[in-house]
């Protein structure tokens, strides 16, 4: 479903060149739940941005559903993002002055669906995450866990083929993080492919497959038990940043 071949990403300024990804090769099959780990500066965020078509690679081929999406126009990339990709962010990224209903409505507004279809989908998604009765609330009136559930409802509203989750539990306490992970696992069981970047080895271990990125290269780990992760060169993970 998602296939990256020799993907490189170089950021250039007048003074320096930074190689964020170096000939990265990676594939994710349909229906997989993949975790991505690695130390800060290893290229995880760049990988996520390229996977979500928010950035273009400097070289290499990125195929999504067997389509080369590396050199599409802005409009084409926007359409693919809208139809195939769902994003979940560490800091939720809800729009503060829109209520829950309108927040979930954001991706649907760019889909061109009828009002009645959007109404049904938004209602269903808010019910799915258990917040159907609070559709008129503003994000500030919810707890962190509830806000992340709204963000998940928003990510799922457009019925995407795969979800990209960037530290989805990073701002939550362990109980709320557990609820969110359960929700993601349910979504995955129903067929949605999930790629999740995380620093938490326990969460990474709950994924079906684990990919480790270091210095811009990706490699599959055979298993990712928390004990194994602690032996890896995670220089800055303890500081909590990428």
């Amino acid at each position: 479903m998602l296939k990256m071949t020799n993907i490189s990403k170089v950021y250039r300024t007048e003074l320096i060149e930074t190689h964020a990804l170096r000939e990265l090769n990676l594939h994710v099959d349909e229906g997989e739940f993949v975790s991505v780990t690695g130390p800060s500066g290893s290229g995880k965020t760049t990988f996520l941005n390229i996977a979500g078509l928010l950035e273009t690679p400097t070289s290499g081929i990125y195929e999504l559903d067997d389509q080369d999406v590396g050199r599409l126009s802005d409009r084409q990339r926007s359409r693919i993002r809208n139809e195939k990709v769902g994003f979940i962010f560490q800091s939720f990224n809800l729009i503060p002055d829109l209520n829950l209903w309108d927040n979930v409505d954001v991706p649907l507004r760019y889909r061109g669906w009828s009002a009645s279809r959007r109404r049904k989908v938004i209602g269903d998604m808010l019910d799915l995450v258990g917040l159907g009765s609070r559709k008129g609330y503003l994000p500030s009136q919810l707890s962190g866990g509830q806000q992340q559930r709204v963000a998940i409802a928003r990510a799922l509203a457009g019925n995407p083929r795969f979800l990209l989750a960037d530290e989805p539990t990073g701002n939550l306490d362990s109980e709320m993080a557990g609820h969110v992970m359960q929700l993601l696992e349910e979504i995955n069981r129903e067929g949605t492919t999930i790629v999740m970047v995380t620093h938490d080895p326990d969460l990474a271990a709950r994924a079906q497959r684990n990919i480790y990125i270091l210095d811009g290269h990706a490699s599959d780990l055979p298993s990712l038990h928390p004990d194994n992760v602690r032996t890896l060169p995670d220089r800055e993970a303890a500081q909590g940043g990428f």
Partner: protein, 441 residues
């Protein structure tokens, strides 16, 4: 549907930053208000007062002036009025004009029939052709006829306002109006008639004064005699041994106006030839000592000749436009601050599938809303500005109103200004790369 969504987002965005939004609306409003104040005055000053006939109505100038004064190069260098004798000679001649009207401004004390106190009114002494030539609208009755001009008849056409004041309105044709100790029979009542500028008489009271409320035959006004009001210019003194009006009639002083209706360019050329020949014939009897200079100017040329729209007004218009530009530039800065403050939301929407053009359209709607509100505030400022013009400058009453066209111009200009101010910030924000911004949200 997407437009209403963008509209809703625009209102939410404006509520989110009320002070910044308020400053932008105020900046645009001030610029629009200042510009619309001067533009409205300029627009009404420079408007065509009689658009359907302005190209066929001509003011006449004959250069009868002092031979020692500087040479004449254009119509501006010639007196804008005629001597009484030249006006009368032309009126009584068989000229190529379709119509001609000789006129002068005078005044009289109107004595009401009831016990109300007498009051002063401006009067036009003219010929019957005046009304048809200038398309004066009649409520009741009609102009007097040419025979009445020749007979020096005591008849009058009065304006609606005076008719209301003296008689409480209604058809008063056949009744009398008392001017001083003389009675004039009313033959017609004209409707509200306010050509702006008052082209036919830009001198007395100014080009923006009220139209006169009383018109009587010039022949009768001179008999009375009603003294001229407005400029009377002489290059040699009138005979002081004669009564004033009698002396003016015989002098080289200019104090009357003369208009001709010339329907075609050929007719205008023939009329000009006629005037040249007339002056030549007058030279033979010792008048018109200067080189031959005759001019005919249609209505709009006439307004230029008389500098009705002054240079001051044009300078004010340019200055107010520059002020508007300053306000627009300020708005650019404020919009940059506002839209860059929205970069997180923009990045999120881009991630959710919004294209650059969708982001551009969404923010464009917001600046249009700001533009419309700026226009509304600008109309308020323009209203205040026009009230200030009204209180500072006498005779501008007809210029100090915002008609629907001006309101539409104000709002359109404000929206255009907002778009001009907002295009760069909106374009910049639509180009923001979403990737980095999402992480820092």
């Amino acid at each position: 549907m997407q437009f209403t969504y963008y509209l809703r987002l625009a209102l939410a965005s404006m509520r989110r930053t009320p002070i910044l939004t308020g400053l932008m609306i105020l900046a645009l409003g001030l610029g629009i208000g200042a510009f619309m104040t001067t533009f409205t005055v300029h627009y009404l000053m420079s408007g065509d007062p009689i658009p359907h006939k302005s190209s066929v109505l001509y003011a006449v100038q004959l250069d009868n002036w002092d031979p020692n004064s500087p040479p004449t190069e254009s119509a501006q260098d010639v007196q804008p009025q005629l001597t009484w004798q030249d006006g009368e000679n032309l009126m009584n001649a068989d000229t190529p004009a379709t119509r001609q009207a000789h006129m002068y401004g005078a005044g009289a004390i109107v004595v009401p029939e009831n016990d109300e106190p007498p009051f002063d009114e401006s009067i036009v002494g003219t010929y019957n052709a005046f009304f048809e030539m200038f398309d004066v609208p009649f409520l009741y009755g009609q102009p007097w006829n040419r025979q009445m001009d020749d007979d020096h008849a005591s008849v009058a056409v009065i304006g609606r306002k005076l008719n209301d004041k003296l008689f409480g309105g209604g058809d008063t044709v056949g009744r009398n109006i008392r001017l001083g100790d003389k009675f004039f029979k009313i033959v017609g009542v004209i409707d509200d008639w306010q050509p702006t500028p008052r082209f036919y008489h830009v001198d007395a009271g100014g080009a923006f004064a009220d139209t006169e409320q009383i018109f009587i035959p010039m022949t009768r006004a001179i008999d009375e005699p009603m003294w001229p009001r407005g400029n009377t210019n002489c290059w040699s003194p009138p005979d002081e041994s004669l009564p004033l009006v009698q002396a003016l009639k015989q002098s080289e002083c200019v104090w009357t106006q003369f208009w001709a209706e010339l329907d075609t360019p050929e007719q205008a050329a023939a009329y000009k030839d006629y005037l040249d020949n007339y002056v030549r014939s007058q030279k033979e009897i010792g008048r018109f000592p200067r080189p031959l200079n005759t001019f005919i100017s249609n209505v709009n040329e006439w307004l230029d000749v008389n500098g009705v729209v002054g240079n001051d007004n044009r300078v004010q218009l340019r200055l107010s436009f520059l002020f508007l530009m300053v306000c627009v530039l300020n708005t650019v800065g404020l919009l940059m601050a506002k839209f860059l403050g929205k970069s997180g939301e923009v990045a999120l929407r881009r991630a959710m599938g919004a294209s650059r053009s969708a982001i551009f359209a969404q923010n464009l709607v917001e600046i249009c809303v700001i533009g419309v509100l700026g226009g509304a505030v600008g109309i308020g400022f323009a209203w205040l500005g026009l009230r200030a013009v009204e209180s500072l400058y006498h005779g501008y009453q007809h210029l100090v109103h915002l008609d629907p066209a001006m309101l539409a111009v104000a709002v359109s200009l404000s929206v255009a200004s907002a778009i001009a101010a907002g295009l760069y910030p909106v374009w910049r924000v639509s180009l923001l790369a979403p990737a980095g911004l999402l992480k820092t949200q």
